[in-house]
Symmetry: C2
Subunit: 387 residues, 2 copies
Amino acid sequence: MKKRKVSIEDIARRAGVSHSTVSRALRDNSLISPKVREEIQKIAREMNYVPNAIAQSLQTQRTNTVGVVVTSIADPFYAEVVEGIEQVARTAGLSVFLTASHRDFEQEIAAIDNFHRRRVDGILVTDSRINKKNTNKIGEIAVPTVLINSQTEDQPETFHTVTVDDFLGGRLAVEHLIELGHRAIGYLGVGDRSQSNYLRLEGYRTALREAGLPENSDWVAISDEENTRINDVDTGKKMLPKLLTTGVTGIFCYNDMVAVGALLACQELNILIPQNLSLVGFDDIALCRYVTPSLTTVCQPKLEIGRSAMQMLLDLLEEKSVENLVLSPFVVKRNSTTAFEQQSAGAEGHSREFLTANSVLIMPDGQCPIPPTQCPMPNVQCPFSIT
Amino acid sequence: MKKRKVSIEDIARRAGVSHSTVSRALRDNSLISPKVREEIQKIAREMNYVPNAIAQSLQTQRTNTVGVVVTSIADPFYAEVVEGIEQVARTAGLSVFLTASHRDFEQEIAAIDNFHRRRVDGILVTDSRINKKNTNKIGEIAVPTVLINSQTEDQPETFHTVTVDDFLGGRLAVEHLIELGHRAIGYLGVGDRSQSNYLRLEGYRTALREAGLPENSDWVAISDEENTRINDVDTGKKMLPKLLTTGVTGIFCYNDMVAVGALLACQELNILIPQNLSLVGFDDIALCRYVTPSLTTVCQPKLEIGRSAMQMLLDLLEEKSVENLVLSPFVVKRNSTTAFEQQSAGAEGHSREFLTANSVLIMPDGQCPIPPTQCPMPNVQCPFSIT
DNA sequence: GTGAAAGCGCTAACAT
DNA sequence: ATGTTAGCGCTTTCAC
């Protein structure tokens, strides 16, 4: 098991040539007499030769690796981005190192530093927290680095970037609700001081302003967990009630996970989506299609983000000049949003009672208000959460 | 930008010592006079020295890296497993290479071969397709390798394994349904000839047999897409109708994604879960808690799988002897399963019409059969899919 | 076309 | 306690 791997010298000895000849033969270098080349390759195969990439790298100063920093490996959003990264990395013959930052600045720096020691050819960082002040902490910018959806205001211009336009995304989300006739629209965000939360909120505000709609500070709820966004679903769940009492008829959520949290909270409160409330998410992760109702959201082109960023890195490695990329998000309409008129029509009568359910629960135990024997629809799933 | 990195020789020159002294000082080696050590470390810091891990590896024959092969980077199940892997890898100072196999044997081999060239210290393979016959294709088993949930019957005994007991999982799932009073239970599986599908099916059969319940070949539906499981959700969606017509009252699905597909199919067919049909998944991915109704499932301890496998690899690297590990899955009861009595009670009357909805749709366009003006519950979400 | 020799940046005997 | 020397396994001039 601990047997030493065979090296080109071993092959050379066996073939009766010098190791440099073997080196050339193995890589189809220039004009080696074709027959010795064949011979050497055959011997190599017989000896189960596996080239030592470490030794190659030391010599060529190229590792054919890229380092990727993600927020969390199990983050469904970045998982898809990484999928895109790996696709083009693989076709270019590059392997990828994956490390999680958990949105922590120190961990991000540590990961990048580690990549530097390992002499990766390039680095991709998602959700970066690096700004100009702390750039020097990671030494010289020795390695081509591209930032994906960077979260700082002033990223050093030595880095390149691929970004989705959060501001536009926020506007599109809110414009969608406005088109549906909503006039009281809320924003449910996360409090980790990230740039994307700020920009989506700005998009929200701008859309309201441009439509001549009122703004109300009560309509904006930002969770106060500063740095640790453990679980966006829980955040959404916890924050929803605050917004409900303000009378909003539609809510734009920071992302899909937050929106799903809001959705689940509504189910518990017997508030119907979209009949009583319209919900818009952000990201368009797979989950959107699986919840009930399916989630209207602002789609980020995740695979494309990953592919473009990796392609940009490849260009950088070839010393091509590259331009920062800003991709446009777009709305994917599903079933969590509906026209306000329809919504209000359906919500006439008892609706207010449901809407304020968190404080005035009609059925505290979540039971259906209609006696089973009187239910005219015994065969359909009762929308009241009977757990 | 292309400036050559500083090496220990550069530091040595500046400090007026030999490069080996620097080497020792930088790694707190044995008894270097503390003051020159401090001095050297200071200089190194000033010069922004970044150790070259490649050169270190060439010398020490240790790369401090592990290679991980996953089915797909965006697979929510293995994402969590990898999360566990990375956690313990990081604390051990190891970096992880991540590559996708897409459940393809050739790609798996290619990934492992690549890891061999890169001289990773250990390899972790999920969903492996390697068996004894083709082992030799990857040369000597030079590197400690542990297989996670291997999918072949006869894995070479030179590999170590961490596995979740699929057979037990299948039994538990079906026993859960039996305890709820179900007697006609189906299995919805995937046709990629994987060992886990086979074992879960065997567990299903055994549970039925042990309970003295009837078995019916019509109750078992396996998708016929041989190798390419593009999307398990679509598989579930597509296969569900076949099972429905057989009169089963509960279905055990190969995994959660398949179950979610089944769930969505039921929504379209106006079949209520769990009132008309109970559904059990497998894996317990996060999604289970977000769909409506939430999904009863057989939980695989994903983080623990990852952590144990990585720990096993660590032990192997220290030449400790290790034992293959079989972890036990367990049922997590949620809202997609319910007692058959209750189910049938609720399904009395018109239920059959809904149950066979795929062939005898009462409302072909998915509209609620009750005229809006007569609906006694205008404020609740209509369970009929009005899209 | 092929061999000899240097060197990539480091660690680890072996001297001193 | 520190310097000298020899590799780790490869690529790449530079001769021939």
